[in-house]
């Protein structure tokens, strides 16, 4: 395994009195697929959203290739947030895919992908469209480029959202339950697109309830419970045999019970 590209140290996040994340330490290596699993309300999504500063974390550090995300370097107390331009620059290196797709409904699939290429990367329309077409082709949607989101299935919309993020050539991709809003028969096509990305060496952090994906595609699986990181292990240690931690046991038990019937 190569060097960590993302390091998280002592990360904490509070919402009022509620401690959503408590002192998280986590590394993500280059080309690695890390799945975050855990019961609902355990802080998986919050952790993911702290990684690109959609949530401003209270304590600790998130560093992408050594660069502190969201806050200014230096020991000022209280910490000062980065200038908006600097934060935008950091976010360009981190792609994100959401549970609810969050496509812009007034733009076509192609328009959704070209938007940031033109507005942020400064590409001409022609260059952006070429790049967007390539990204859409990669997720198997080159024939849907002219469709508005209203005319795409959920699975297709999510694949457009993936293309939109990937076209920006991020160093790290974050997935926040990318298949949870989909009908069961549409989950496969999205997971397939993600598997392909993983095979091509994209570094990915994936919050998921798809235990199959975690078991077969993840390099490591991190289990969160009550805002704490319970453990980070290769998937075989969680799914292959009976896990030692009773919290993980309980969590997996509910999954098995649901999937058997």
């Amino acid at each position: 395994m190569s060097e960590p590209i993302l390091t998280v140290r002592g990360l904490s996040k509070r919402f009022g009195d509620f401690e959503a994340l408590r002192h998280i330490d986590l590394d993500v290596n280059q080309n690695e697929v890390l799945c975050l699993i855990g019961p609902s309300g355990s802080g998986k999504s919050t952790l993911l959203r702290c990684l690109n500063f959609l949530e401003a974390y209270d304590d600790g550090e998130v560093r992408l290739e050594g660069e502190l995300i969201g806050w200014r370097e230096g020991g000022a107390s209280p910490r000062r947030a980065l200038a908006s331009g600097a934060l935008r620059k950091q976010r360009q290196g981190i792609g994100m895919v959401f549970q609810q797709f969050n496509l812009w409904p007034h733009m076509t699939a192609l328009g959704n992908v070209t938007e940031a290429l033109m507005q942020v990367k400064g590409l001409s329309r022609k260059q952006a469209e070429e790049k967007a077409q390539a990204a859409l082709e990669k997720v198997g949607l080159s024939d849907k480029a002219g469709n508005h989101p209203a005319n795409l299935s959920g699975g297709q919309q999510q694949r457009v959202a993936i293309a939109r993020a990937v076209a920006m050539e991020p160093r790290l991709m974050l997935f926040d339950e990318p298949t949870s809003a989909l009908d069961p028969e549409l989950v496969g096509e999205v997971l397939a697109a993600m598997k392909q990305m993983a095979a091509e060496g994209m570094t990915m952090v994936v919050v998921t309830h798809e235990m199959g994906f975690a078991a077969h595609v993840a390099d490591r699986v991190a289990f969160l419970d009550g805002g704490r990181l319970v453990g980070v292990t290769p998937p075989s240690e969680i799914f292959g045999k009976e896990p030692e931690d009773p919290r993980i046991q309980r969590f997996l038990q509910t999954y098995r019970e649901r999937n058997v019937v």
């Binding site: 908006s84 994100m96 007034h106 733009m107 938007e115 940031a116 942020v120 005319n151 939109r164 920006m168």
Partner: protein, 219 residues
């Protein structure tokens, strides 16, 4: 029917028509622009500014247009603001309309799901570009109908400008009535005119609405 009346008063009525349309268009558009600025400042401005805007909206919305117009036209000179009737009419229209428009825009901003904004932020798109490219075009869907409605209301409010001698249509019709002792025909014609303006505005609003909602229809 004394239709030759209309021929005799044609030029005056035409002038009145021009003044009405001028006050309505300039006043409403000014109100839209000011309302949009207020809504943006309310959304992104510092807290003290938000309180000021909140108070402005409350006061203007809470008082009758005619009183605002009187205060501006008759009270203005006491504050060094001497305005011609038409200037007072247009300015009062801007002041009167802006809080309503600000509220329409505020609700429009709120109608865009936060997730779409976050998706744009994740890609590094600057905030003002997000407003321009993502928020504004979509917010036209929920705000077109209320905007059209308020334009329609303002069309008819122009009649109140006659009270400060703005030479708009009602003002002209009033002198016509006073000089000729004919009441029914001029007033009916005037009503017809307002109805025509309102219908035109409504049609235009409907046209805009079909354009801005096109992307929502399934092929």
């Amino acid at each position: 029917m004394e239709l030759d009346l209309f021929l005799r008063y044609g030029p005056a009525l035409l002038e009145g028509f021009g003044v009405t349309v001028l006050c309505w268009i300039v006043g409403s558009l000014g109100g839209v622009v000011l309302g949009f600025i207020l809504a943006c400042l309310y959304r992104w401005g510092p807290a003290p500014l938000r309180w000021v805007i909140y108070a402005y909206v409350e006061v203007i919305r809470g008082t009758p247009f005619m009183i605002q117009l009187f205060l501006l036209y008759y009270g203005g000179p006491y504050m060094g603001l001497v305005l011609t009737p038409i200037q007072a009419g247009i300015l009062s229209f801007i002041v009167y309309g802006s809080p309503y428009f600000a509220e329409i825009f505020r609700s429009g901003f709120n109608a865009i799901p936060l997730g779409q904004i976050e998706a744009a932020r994740c890609l590094g798109i600057p905030e003002w570009r997000i407003v321009l490219r993502i928020t504004l075009p979509q917010m036209l869907v929920p705000i077109t109908a209320p905007l059209t409605n308020f334009f329609i209301i303002l069309t008819k409010e122009t009649a109140i400008l006659a009270t400060v001698t703005v030479p708009e249509l009602l003002f002209q019709v009033q002198s016509m009535m006073a000089e000729t002792f004919t009441y029914v025909e001029p007033l009916l014609a005037l009503s017809l005119f307002y109805w025509f303006m309102v219908t035109l505005t409504a049609r235009f609003g409907a046209w805009v609405e079909t354009r801005v909602t096109r992307h929502l229809s399934r092929a």
